[in-house]
Amino acid sequence: MRLLRIRLENVRGIDACEVRIARDGVTVVEAPNESGKTTLLDAVDVLLDMKDTSKAQRVKDLQPVGMDVGSTIEVELISGATHLSCTKTFNRQTATTLQVHAPTAQQLGGTEAHDRLREILEAEVDLDLYAALRFPQGRDLQAVPLQNSPVLAARLDAVAGGSGSTDGDGLLDRVTDEFARYFTPGGAARKALAEVDARVKEIQTDHDAVCQQLIEVAGDVDELGAIDDELPSLTGRLSDEIEPRVAALDEQLASIRSQAQVVATRTAERDRACQARDSARRDVRERAEKAAFLGELTDDVETLEAGLDPVRSRQRELEERLTACDRDLAEAVDAARVARSEREVAEILVDLSQARRQRDELAARHDRVRTVIEEARDADAALRTIILDAPKLAAIREAQRNHDVAVATLAAGAPTVRVHARRPIDLTSDGVSTTVDTDASWETMVGDRFHLDVPDHVEVEVRAGGSTDELHRAVVDARERLVAACEGPRVDDLDHAERVAEQRAAHETTVRHRDDALQRELGTATVEELASDWEQGDARVTALAARLPDGVAEPPDQQTALRRLDAARPAAEAADDRVADLRADRDAAREELAAVRTRAATDEATLVQRREQAAREQAALTEARAAASDDDLDAYLAQMESELAAATAALTDAEAELAGLDPVAVELDARNWQQQRTDTQARIRTLSERRAALRARLDVVGEQGLGEREQDLDQQLARALADQRRIHARAAAARVLHDALTTARGEAYRTYRTPLTDRILDLARLLYRRDVDIALGDDLAIVTRTLDGVTLAWEQLSAGAREQLAILSALAAAQLAGGDGVPFVLDDALGYTDPLRLERLGALLGQTTDAQVIVLTCVADRFRHVGGATVVRLLEARGDPSRG
């Protein structure tokens, strides 16, 4: 495509202008900033892209500010064999006209004109290359990607030895669209494929579930059929076999129960005979036992009577021995009481002596503590009245020293006034009256000012000179400071202060010694605790003294008391031992005596009881024999034995008859058949209930249409599987075709790199005039530059180098594209390039004859080296140079 003419009317700041552009070679459009250079090509883009009715912002932006007018753009261009002019008016009175001049004249208007224009552009213009070869103001300094240009690809293909076909990219776009229906750009399956698989899985799952339900239904049907088969059989067996058999066995059981009743009666009779026989046996046995028991009682009485005498003799001996023991024990107890009394007195005397000593010590400590406390209290009181402390004393001493020094200095340097009296005079000096006798002298030193008054005679005032006055003021100051130092601690002077300081030191010593003395006397105790201890000690002395028996004198010292205690203790212990021994003897005698007395009493009681019992037994036996003799009892027993034998025989006969009815077997059979009847009835009940449940379930399932649903799912599955095969086959075909095309395109682009690299290098060598090399990437953009053996990546290059190489790259592409190419547009570019290379770039642009180069610049000088350029001055091309 070649732009031949651009005409604007009411576009942004341009009222009207028309620019004609050289078909080949360089056209430089000069204009100051903000005068509409960029507007020219923006307007061309809007005309090529937008319908006149468009409301897009870039269309609205065409309208001049503050003017409600239409913006008209006219472009004349040539592309391949087509030569056309198109005019569009936007925003107001919109209109489009297209005039095709060649190859066949055609004039269209409105939408038809726009559509035809787009058709021509899309068919004949490499729009990707057009975009790539635009260098607008402020363009990022990126390498120029050229891989999307079919024109350039075709030219490079031709240069590289190919056919030069421009086909492929449109097809690849379509194939990529098809590929994208099934796969992501990374090749992962898209939702469409997953959905078809999921659909198959979903139907398969539903189908399996329905099949499972049908299997369960079939199971129910089989079970119901089995129940229907079994139920009549069970019912028939119950009525035809089990019930009659149970009835017959019930009759047999009734006979058995009747005979069993007979056996029971016979058994009761036999038991009664047996009980009577046993009763007779018991009477005979009890009679014999009573006789024997009476004999035993008689023997016991005799034995007890013989054993009672020795016991009574031993009892008397022990009673005498116990009397002697009690007497000896009483004597020993008295002796022990005396000995213990002596030991107690001795112990009290020792304790009393010790308690007195402790109480006296506590009293002494208490007195010392009170003294220390009182002294310390007095010292504290005195200290509180003494304000003078060491710093104040030091200050007084310093003030005194300063005063003395000042006085001495004054004395050394001050004048002296001497009054010698020729007769007695009274004089007053500084308010102090003095009498000076005849020929006596009065002398004083003159300080600051001296006033002498001799009443009625003379009044003299002496003023000190300069140095004396200063010395005097120093003395006065020193005195004032001394007085001030003494006022604080309330002392008269330094001597007074020294005395007060000595008093303070003495009081502080007293206070300090108080703490030491209290620590020594009290330890961890308090004064109150010490006083309490003393009182307790005194009370203990009083208590111990009170415990002493009357008439006992306190020993003179503790040693005497201890000796008395040492003598009393063994005597008391010996007396106690004697008492214990005698008490043991007495207890042993007392214990044996109690045992002997018990034995004697027991034996006597037993003897009495045996005698009485023997009398009762004898009376009872006599009475029983009177009622029934021993022979009568024997005869009755023989009769009962005979009756028992007869009852036993009758029972044996009845039992034999019962056994003949085989009750065990009959009972077993009866239980078995009754159980069978119960089981069969239960089974019939269970089956009936199960049958009802199955019937109900089948009725419910029958409502669900499972069979038809299974068929439907089966057929859905078949269709889904067919869809799955078809879609996967289509996806596979799209992938294979896409891969084949992209692989081939990648290979082709690698082939194209050589001729493009060569063309860029041709230009670069002319620019750098040095050894230079470049490398292109798969997108045909420059990735590295090597200059004088130093290789730098694109990003590492300076802004100027990147700008120059980008321009060279685009220029090479424009030159390679040739007549099928598009305008190479530089809009205020080369701002980063130094003058030398600017000159060389101008030369390179100037020799371009097989491409259209449009340079828009506000710095005309920047492109003055472009030889043969067509120069258009925009302001001259515009009708009204004042606007813009």
């Binding site: 249409g705 038809e708 294979v736 290979e747």
Partner: protein
């Protein structure tokens, strides 16, 4: 005059995998509508009763809609209707005929022949069923039932279901009855007519003209010879007079052709376009041969265009029955250049091999042909 309507194999609820949802709906409704038409035939021909010889339902668990519509349609009959359980709707404990939903809504004049007790729809005529009570009967139900009938001179119609041994040749198949065992019952006058179901094509069995398959009222498969009929039977004649009444509205067609070029494709498409009543036609293309990519693409395109017209149009999948030969001239004629031509040539080379890779390359070439045409267009 004793005249009755013999029909069978309604197969209500049947679904077909080659039908899409819309066509399946129409196909199913057509079977319900056929009941109404049969009722009309019974009335028009003054039939005394109707026998349905098995497989009234496709399954014992039909959809409730199917069941409801069937029972509703059965109300159109004004004469007794006898339904025989067949092998699809066996009279087992789970049978549709035992379900509450059937029993509660079954019209008064409709009776299920669940046992072999004779029914008397009109004076002097007995109808005896030979129902299937399990999926795998252990005896010859039809012959056994016929043999059990007394030779008492009554007009007796035995209603059975199963394949005749003389037709299937498979004597071991469950439900197959032996013609030789049935004939004596007919010869001795025990049975006047045997009304059969299971075979969906209308046909007579044996030489006496008293054993008939009515066929299904609507076709169900490509293999059926003469479906879509019902039989009006006059028992007064000897042999009985049997009229075949067409009631079906759908049709199955099989178009078998070898296609090896554009001419064959033209003929195939002409055959397709000649199919009548296409919205109720189910067509299966049985085609084989070898097509180029372009021809295969054309076939696919043409079939896609007709797919919505037919009730169903089944055709073979690519590569299964039709070999696709990507001929070099065909593909190389595509207006491709540059790397696209390189890619095409490589795919052509890969398509000449064997196995899945070659098939994938062929499919890719087919796609290339199609997309190239779209881009050019």
């Amino acid at each position: 005059m004793v005249r009755f309507l013999h029909t069978a194999d309604w197969q209500l609820g049947m679904t077909r995998h080659f039908l899409d949802a819309e066509a399946q709906g129409r196909f199913s409704q057509a079977r319900i509508d056929a009941i109404q038409r049969l009722a009309g035939v019974a009335t028009a021909h003054d039939c005394a009763f109707v026998v349905v010889a098995g497989d009234v339902f496709e399954t014992n668990q039909p959809d409730r809609t199917t069941l409801g519509r069937a029972l509703d349609a059965l109300q159109a009959f004004t004469v007794p209707v006898y339904l025989l359980p067949g092998n699809h709707d066996v009279y087992d404990p789970g049978s549709v005929y035992r379900q509450r939903s059937f029993l509660d809504r079954c019209p008064a004049g409709v009776e299920v022949l669940g046992d072999r007790r004779p029914r008397t729809p009109c004076h002097g005529v007995q109808v005896v069923g030979a129902p299937w009570t399990s999926k795998h009967p252990l005896t010859d139900l039809v012959a056994e039932t016929c043999a059990q009938q007394p030779a008492d001179g009554a007009v007796r119609v035995v209603v059975g279901h199963g394949t005749a041994d003389v037709l299937s040749g498979d004597f071991d198949q469950p439900g197959t009855f032996r013609l030789a065992d049935v004939d004596p019952s007919i010869a001795t006058g025990k049975v006047s007519f045997v009304a059969l179901g299971d075979r969906h094509s209308t046909s007579s069995v044996g030489a006496g003209g008293r054993i008939w398959f009515s066929g299904s009222p609507e076709p169900t498969a490509y293999t059926e010879d003469d479906p879509g009929n019902a039989l009006v039977v006059d028992l007064d004649d000897d042999p009985p007079r049997v009229q075949k009444i067409p009631v079906g509205t759908w049709a199955f067609h099989v178009i078998a052709r070898s296609v090896d070029g554009d001419d064959d494709l033209d003929h195939l498409l002409a055959d397709l376009d000649a199919v009548p009543e296409r919205s109720r036609a189910i067509v299966k293309l049985k085609i084989d041969g070898t097509l180029t990519l372009t021809q295969a693409a054309r076939l696919e395109r043409e079939l896609d265009a007709r797919g919505d017209v037919f009730g169903a149009l089944e055709h073979p999948e690519r590569h299964r029955d039709i070999a696709i030969a990507p001929d070099t001239a065909d593909v190389q004629a595509l207006p491709l250049g540059g790397y696209a031509a390189v890619a095409r040539d490589r795919l052509l080379e890969r398509s000449q091999g064997d196995g899945d890779e070659a098939l994938a390359a062929t499919d890719a070439l087919g796609l290339l042909v199609r997309l190239s045409a779209e881009v050019d267009a």
